[in-house]
């Protein structure tokens, strides 16, 4: 009975979002209000899980399940992502061949700024994620870009998240129709069903958070990026946001996009924006 109820509420929310897309463009253009939508998004989850504290949603599956939480708390004594933070710190300090460092590419030397990514770049007219900014920094300094999904990229983002822990997500949508379009596009991607199995991201992370999918507990979409990058035992290592997007797409028999494609950048923009105010918790550890 309980489940039916929650699925219905979930459906109502999804239906609401679907309605928003279906609205005629002319009307939609001046009606989209991301701030109101983000509030409704947050309220959906806090109403569905009244016992979960707002800041705890960033802990994904652990916020949903007491048993899993216990195992996790024990594991955090020797965090499995520590090697990545250390490696990232070292990489950050080591100069490129031209003598510059990552610190030269970022505000505040790259320390404590995770919560401001992704941001909308007015010059390019597109969303720039932290992973993208890191590779652009490398390329601007004559270094080859890293793979977006793991290893070095995960270490760099792990370190940057670590120095930003506790800072609330502060994603801005500037008064620019292209920024609003990027947000809308990300939202559309999130709610669109795809692949042979007909799943949207929302099928699992809005309609079914807290439920078991085989042995795994589904994380809620609220705060779902705050703990990235993550160490996963199943991966036997670290994974970035790009890796998680690709994995979720391919596990549901949908064709994954290229990491840092426009759609994934917009998706990350949407998911981060609706989690504004929730603290950065990365890097995280997951079973």
């Amino acid at each position: 009975m309980k489940r039916r109820g929650s699925v219905l509420i979930g459906s109502a929310f999804v239906a609401l979002a679907a309605l928003a897309f279906a609205a005629p463009r002319v009307v939609a253009a001046d009606k989209i209000d991301p701030a109101t939508e983000a509030k409704a998004f947050r309220n959906y989850f806090t109403a569905k899980f009244p016992k979960v504290k707002l800041d705890d949603f960033v802990n994904g599956p652990y916020s949903m399940n007491a048993d899993m939480r216990k195992q996790w708390v024990e594991k955090e004594e020797f965090p499995p992502y520590e090697f990545a933070v250390d490696a990232g710190k070292e990489m950050f300090a080591k100069p490129f061949k031209n003598g510059k460092t990552y610190a030269d590419c970022f505000p505040n030397g790259g320390v404590g700024i995770r919560q401001n990514y992704p941001h909308f770049d007015a010059k390019e007219g597109k969303v720039v994620t932290l992973e993208l900014a890191l590779n652009r920094c490398r390329e601007a300094n004559g270094e080859a870009p890293y793979s977006y999904v793991k290893d070095e990229m995960a270490s760099l983002t792990a370190y940057m998240a670590f120095t930003s822990r506790g800072k609330p997500f502060d994603i801005r949508i500037p008064d620019d129709p292209r920024a609003l379009e990027a947000y809308e596009n990300g939202k559309r991607y999130f709610y669109t069903r795809r692949g042979q199995l007909n799943f949207s991201c929302a099928s699992c992370h809005v309609q079914s958070p807290g439920e078991r999918i085989r042995a795994e507990i589904l994380a809620p979409a609220l705060g779902i990026l705050n703990a990235m990058p993550i160490y996963r035992s199943e991966w036997n290592g670290m994974g970035t946001i790009s890796r998680r997007f690709v994995t979720c797409n391919s596990q549901t028999r949908a064709v994954p996009l290229e990491p840092q494609s426009d759609e994934y950048r917009d998706l990350e923009y949407f998911l981060s924006y609706v989690s504004n105010g929730l603290p950065i918790a990365g890097p995280g550890a997951r079973p």
Partner: protein
């Protein structure tokens, strides 16, 4: 070698019987239900355990309701076929995949799975 041509013929005969929905023989229905269970549990086929608790299956999910007392709840076999074939048609918001419509399972496979469901 001489016996070889016989075998495919037998399989075809069996498949035809399944296709025709010849469930009258209890032995045949029994084997179809066993086959249905295999299809339902197979990760590359139904993979129903991802979302449903089902007797005899390991590591079940909880996204959908536990599948039990199915025969009492759905005495009409066509309803079950409809659910497995295209649940989003009955409930547009459902997360259950449209196994028949999206050709994840054939009609035959769905029939075998429904036989299995009716034993629950």
């Amino acid at each position: 070698m001489t016996a070889f041509p016989q075998k495919p013929a037998l399989i075809v005969a069996f498949a035809t019987a399944v296709l025709a929905g010849a469930w009258t023989s209890p032995a045949l229905a029994q084997s179809a239900a066993t086959e249905g269970q295999k299809l339902a549990f197979d990760r590359g086929k139904g993979n129903c355990l991802t979302c449903h608790v089902i007797k005899g299956g390991d590591l079940p999910g909880t996204i959908g309701p536990a599948l039990k007392d199915i025969k009492a709840k759905y005495p009409d076999r066509d309803t079950l076929v409809a659910i497995v074939t295209d649940e989003p048609k009955r409930n547009p918001q459902t997360v259950m995949p449209p196994f028949g419509r999206n050709r994840i399972l054939t009609e035959q496979e769905i029939n075998a799975i429904v036989d299995f469901l009716q034993t629950l």
